[in-house]
């Protein structure tokens, strides 16, 4: 039994970054750096963050797994716990359990083109993937990054997208339903971006994260373009309370999203995906 999955570890807020009106990043550090596995995580995994006396919430880890000092969580203030967390300041403490779940298929993606399609804050769980790829650029083929948001102001990390766009054999396409005169943004949703990028399905994997309706249409578009369902990977969100597959809240059909996911190969969840009530 791994105590980090049942008992929170205290971690200190080393930096707090306001990304947009309601999105913020907490850069956290465990107080003692002594050995053990506590920093080991795979891109796509998540932690349960605990706000003292208020509750826990599942948040994906966005930082680089190789950063041995800090780990980052980017959070949208939407519920009582996350709104409370948005008030945290440098020096404050949180509890952390994790990491939990299955991350993105990075080994599987090696030697292939990679298509990353995200919506809204869905970009957060794949930032670590993108960083991972660009640190090992030669191991991957074409990289296509498509991100859509509702409002221009939701598009956080603009400079990162700009940097990624400068990488060799890389396409970055950004869309906003409401681009507010920003000429660099396509006016529309992320699925409409498919007409503006060149995707070759033969040797590619796609990774998707964002609202389910967005992923549903993106999956349809990818499959129309010849992507097999075994090379589509999606990150799911459900009500995760324990992280261990115990509390039962995150079940999607017979799957425990916290433990069997949150990243799934699409063919393995197709039976439940976007089916109301699962």
């Amino acid at each position: 039994m791994n105590m980090h999955t049942t008992l929170p570890m205290p971690a200190q807020v080393k930096e707090r970054i306001q990304e947009s009106a309601d999105i913020f990043t907490l850069r956290l550090q465990y107080p003692d750096l002594a050995g053990d596995q506590r920093y080991a995580f795979a891109p796509g995994q998540f932690n349960m963050l605990y706000l003292h006396g208020v509750g826990e919430v599942a948040i994906s880890i966005v930082s680089d797994p190789q950063d041995e000092r800090l780990f980052d969580h980017t959070i949208r203030a939407v519920g009582r716990v996350t709104r409370g967390m948005s008030q945290l300041k440098e020096g404050d403490w949180v509890g952390v359990r994790g990491p939990f779940g299955v991350g993105w298929p990075l080994a599987e993606a090696e030697g292939k083109d990679v298509v990353i399609i995200t919506g809204g804050l869905g970009c957060a769980p794949v930032v670590a993937v993108i960083n991972y790829i660009f640190r090992r650029r030669e191991r991957f083929g074409q990289v296509t990054i498509m991100q859509g948001v509702k409002h221009r102001e939701d598009l956080i990390w603009r400079e990162r997208y700009d940097q990624w766009a400068q990488q060799p054999d890389t396409t970055v396409a950004l869309a906003a339903d409401n681009p507010e005169q920003d000429q660099s943004l396509f006016s529309g949703n992320v699925v409409q971006l498919f007409d503006r990028v060149d995707l070759q399905p033969d040797n590619a994997v796609a990774m998707l994260c964002g609202p389910e309706i967005m992923m549903k249409y993106a999956i349809e578009a990818l499959m129309q373009r010849g992507f097999p369902d075994t090379r589509l990977w999606v990150s799911m969100e459900r009500n995760m309370q324990c992280g261990n597959g115990l509390c039962g809240h995150c079940q999607m059909g017979p799957l425990f999203v916290c433990r069997d996911g949150p990243v799934f190969r699409y063919d393995r969840i197709a039976e439940w995906f976007f089916r109301k009530g699962f």
Binding site: M1, R238, N239, C242, G248, P254
Partner: protein, 389 residues
């Protein structure tokens, strides 16, 4: 499709319970007036004894000390949404079928503290719940609940993710099972293959006959206790009577679930109109999930002290019928009763096959008796398996 599990459990006949690799130890005979000796030895080593007693119109499990507290001659009459007790002049102590609860609260507590945290100037300090549960022996557990305990073990004790609270309680539990001789009208353990006799998972199992009890061991610890009582072996006639009792308990059951894996059949019927028909009756009150011996869902809640310096993290039974269960940022994935009932039933009878290799139902019938409006799982399944008109 493995149908091996869908046979009734008859220990004294030819059939063996699923998972049972060894022939049970030779049964011994305990005369009725020696039952207190068994209870005393169960209470040895500082164990508290839990057993069936009558409280508030039902047979419940609670602390007992003496055989005289057991529900002598008590019979239960159960039907959908109804449970009544009736005193008979039978000298039997276990001539009843399950009440609302038995084992589940003893291993998966309805509410328990998982950890505590203290906040001070130097940060947060987390401590796991350290209190050790009292060593406990429980007498009167039925086959359906033993089978459900195996299911709960499969869930709570997954390798590498063992639940400490469940493990601590289970480690301290000595289980004395009783072969079911008087199933209720709501029982269907024979069709799920989990009864009426007590299958694996007990330390001692007991068969009640008119003339006394047959005891058999299910663990070295149970064997030790039986050996200490120095009882004579059961006679051939007594073994025969036990086998007849078991067959009778099986034959008396009128309800049943199909003896097939319903996984694909139920998942294929996500849009069956009968779900809406059930939802017209279902109250979404969660009673079925609370009394179900295999339901495992829980909610985690903080209980901070008023000054905010300390807090406890509490785990409490939750239910797929609650808003919070599927809540995603204020919008539940299952926002109406139809979807919540469908979640419960498809998880119980379909999802469990993928998760733990068998159905999650052990035929105890509690969800039928304790549903305030008497929704009958076996009937709903039958309707769902019919093609819509």
């Amino acid at each position: 499709m493995d149908q091996a599990w869908s046979r009734p459990v008859h220990l004294y006949g030819v059939e063996r319970p699923r998972g049972s690799k060894t022939v049970p130890s030779t049964p011994v005979f305990l005369p009725p007036d020696s039952l207190q000796r068994l209870l005393d030895s169960l209470r040895g080593s500082g164990r508290q004894l839990m057993g069936p007693l009558v409280r508030d119109g039902a047979i419940v499990f609670d602390r007992i000390e003496n055989a005289a507290e057991l529900p002598r001659g008590m019979r239960d009459i159960q039907s959908p949404g109804s449970y009544r007790l009736e005193q008979s002049d039978s000298p039997r102590l276990f001539a009843w079928a399950n009440g609302p609860q038995a084992l589940k609260p003893m291993t998966f507590a309805p509410e328990e503290v998982l950890w505590q945290v203290v906040r001070d100037d130097s940060g947060l300090h987390f401590e796991p719940q350290a209190s050790t549960p009292a060593p406990t022996a429980v007498i009167g557990v039925r086959g359906c609940d033993l089978a459900a305990l195996q299911l709960q073990k499969a869930h709570f004790l997954q390798e590498g993710a063992e639940d400490p609270a469940f493990q601590r309680r289970l480690d301290k539990l000595l289980i004395v099972a009783v072969d079911c001789s008087h199933p209720a009208d709501t029982c269907f353990c024979a069709s799920t293959g989990d009864g009426p006799d007590a299958g694996p998972g007990h330390d001692i199992a007991l068969t009640e006959l008119d003339e006394g009890f047959l005891l058999r061991a299910g663990s070295p610890q149970g064997q030790e206790i039986i050996d200490s009582l120095a009882l004579p072996p059961a006679s051939t006639a007594q073994l025969q009577a036990a086998a007849e009792s078991s067959r009778g308990a099986s034959d008396a059951q009128t309800r049943k679930l199909p003896a097939t894996d319903l996984r694909d059949a139920l998942f294929a019927r996500q849009d069956h109109p009968h779900w809406a028909a059930v939802a017209e009756r279902c109250l979404a009150c969660g009673n079925c999930t609370a009394v179900c011996p295999s339901c495992f869902c829980s909610a985690y809640e903080p209980r901070p002290s008023l000054d905010g310096a300390e807090s406890e993290q509490v785990r409490l039974w939750d239910s797929c019928f609650s808003f919070e269960h599927s809540n995603l940022h204020g919008h539940p994935v299952r926002d109406d009763i139809r979807l919540r009932y469908r979640q419960w039933l498809t998880h119980k009878l379909a999802g469990w096959h993928d998760q733990y290799g068998r159905s999650g139902c052990t035929g105890c019938g509690r969800c039928i008796s304790w549903c305030p409006v008497g929704i009958d799982l076996t009937e709903e399944v039958a309707s769902l398996l019919e093609e819509p008109a």
